[in-house]
Amino acid sequence: MAPLGLAIAMRHLLHRRRQTLTSLVGVSLGVAFFIGIASMMQGFQRDFVNRIIDAAPHITIKDEFRTPPPQPVFAAFPDAAVRLRGIKPKDEVRGLRGARALIDALEQMPGLHLAPTLAGQILLRFGAKDISGNVTGIVPDRERLVTKLERDLIAGSLDSLYTAANGIIIGEGIALKAGIGMDDMVSVIAPSGVLLRMKVVGIFRSGITLMDNYDTYVLMKKAQVLQNRPNVINRIRIRLDDVEQAADLARAIETRFGWRTESWQEQSSNILSIFVIQNAIMYSTVGAIVIVACFGIFNVISTVVFEKTKDIGILKSMGFRDADIRRIFVYEGLIVGIVGMLIGWALGYAIVEFMASLRFNLEGFVRAQGFVLYRTPKHYVLSGAMAIFASTFAAWLPARRASRLNPVDIVRGAA
């Protein structure tokens, strides 16, 4: 029966070329757009995540607490309705207290590299330009283990922080904004009031816009001088051999030591949540295309069923079972789905390769020259499955109607 039902289905489709073509176009476009958009979006997102994982620490321990410590009065009256007003925060010295023990404990863990740092804000003055930025006090030998700052340097070197008297490494964005070049002297002003004249000994380009536009690096000792906090660190940055463990490990560290500990996902959560929205938009767009394509198929098969009422009547009186009739029209949807999928694959491939050939400068969350595309068979499998499922489903409804037609009504009516 399979070949016969298929043969009848093929004839039906071939005899209404224009309708068949229209529904094919719908399915193909759905599949092609999915492949194009998905590879663009996912390419961008994966590229971003890779860059973040590559450039930023996987885990950062901060000298903060996620929730403020409970006030003693609440502990004193656990069952009462207590309201406190005008709490004056304790003017405590900030910083990771007991960092030595913390570092010792962390260093016991395998596959973990860490660099203690002191991070803060600065104002960078060069000529008439004032630029605010972040400063991170680092130890170059440890920094190598934790970030790829050294690889990102487009001028200078990490070790020249040791050799220069007051060396600073700045991001390319800052350099371009203020017209700062290598070996230029800049004034660095910290909120503590300390002002240092520093020499630019390195410029880096990470490709992540936020970092390139705001981050600077100095020796740890200089950072402590700038902030007037000798021997204090306020961040421990951690790199893991297995980045997948970042979230779990961050939670474990925070539970154990109390300090606010953020994984890279949490640090980039604003951008990652934009990705979620992006994906939602993508899937609903493609979903809408598929639904439209479904309507097209539904329409075509319904028309065919209507036009083929006489044929259905004779086939049934001849001895075709209900299921045979249903199969004919489901085959029609399936054929449209499969052929549409194949055309859509070819078209999607062409779209992706075309986008890959485009060259332009783009600066958003990251800096890129053209689209970053992610090519994976998954997109083909997913879009193909979607096309076949949708077209079969769209054909199923009219097919079921066809199989339920009463042949007596048809042969009586057509006489």
Partner: protein, 224 residues
């Protein structure tokens, strides 16, 4: 040997606000090789009776035995299988599938039955068409044939699975006298030469007179 078809108390009432009685209390026994004509005024229930005998419609009461086989308890698929293997229908309208050539149309029931290899199916389709004088029209689409040719192609299709019973509902209704005679002679030949049972509904009393037996219906009942 059991009769080709045996109907007992066949009644078909269409349910509804006002139930419509199509046929009522029909008793009929037809032996293999008999050629029967059903006549009667328009609306007397001739087609309805044919659908019941052909297992296309189910009676409200009464029974149909096909070659001794009781059909009351059978479900839709089983009835379809019986129609496929043992019954051939010819209607006033040819009902050929418009996308398929005459030979392909004739091949469809054989392919559905799947009892023969494709090559044998094609050979038999050609043979059937040749027997009905359609040899040179075998590759034509229905729209490229005349009314009489289409009707003969439809007869060839009804014969495809070598059915014991052929049911024809005014097969000559749309044809001119010459074509009608040809089709009728063909049907009669099938009964006489191939021992098939033929039941034909017709308005044409002259043609009906040539049948072995005549069944006259009025208001859904057999009248002598």
């Amino acid at each position: 040997m059991s009769p080709a078809i045996e109907a007992r108390g066949l009644t078909r009432i269409l349910p509804g606000l006002v139930p419509v009685t199509l046929v009522e209390g029909i008793d009929l026994t037809v032996q293999a090789g008999e050629f029967i004509a059903i006549t009667g005024p328009s609306g007397s229930g001739k087609s309805s009776l044919l659908y019941l005998l052909g297992l296309l419609d189910k009676p409200s009461s009464g029974t149909v035995r096909l070659q001794g086989l009781a059909t009351e308890g059978l479900d839709g698929d089983q009835l379809a299988d019986l129609r496929l293997a043992r019954i051939g229908f010819v209607f006033q309208f040819h009902f050929l599938l418009p996308e398929f050539s005459a030979a392909e149309n004739v091949a469809i029931p054989m392919r559905r039955l799947g009892a023969m290899p494709e090559k044998a199916i094609r050979a038999r389709a050609d043979e059937l068409l040749e027997g009905l004088g359609l040899a040179e029209h075998r590759a034509k689409l229905p729209e490229q044939m005349s009314g009489g040719q289409r009707q003969r192609a439809a007869i060839a299709r009804a014969l495809a699975n070598d059915p014991a019973l052929i049911l024809a509902d005014e097969p000559t209704g749309n044809l001119d006298t010459a074509s009608a005679h040809l089709v009728f002679q063909t049907l009669r030949g099938l009964a006489r030469d191939q021992n098939r049972t033929i039941i034909v509904v017709t308005h044409d009393t002259e043609l009906a007179a040539t049948a072995d037996r005549r069944l006259h219906l009025v208001d859904g009942r057999v009248v002598p």
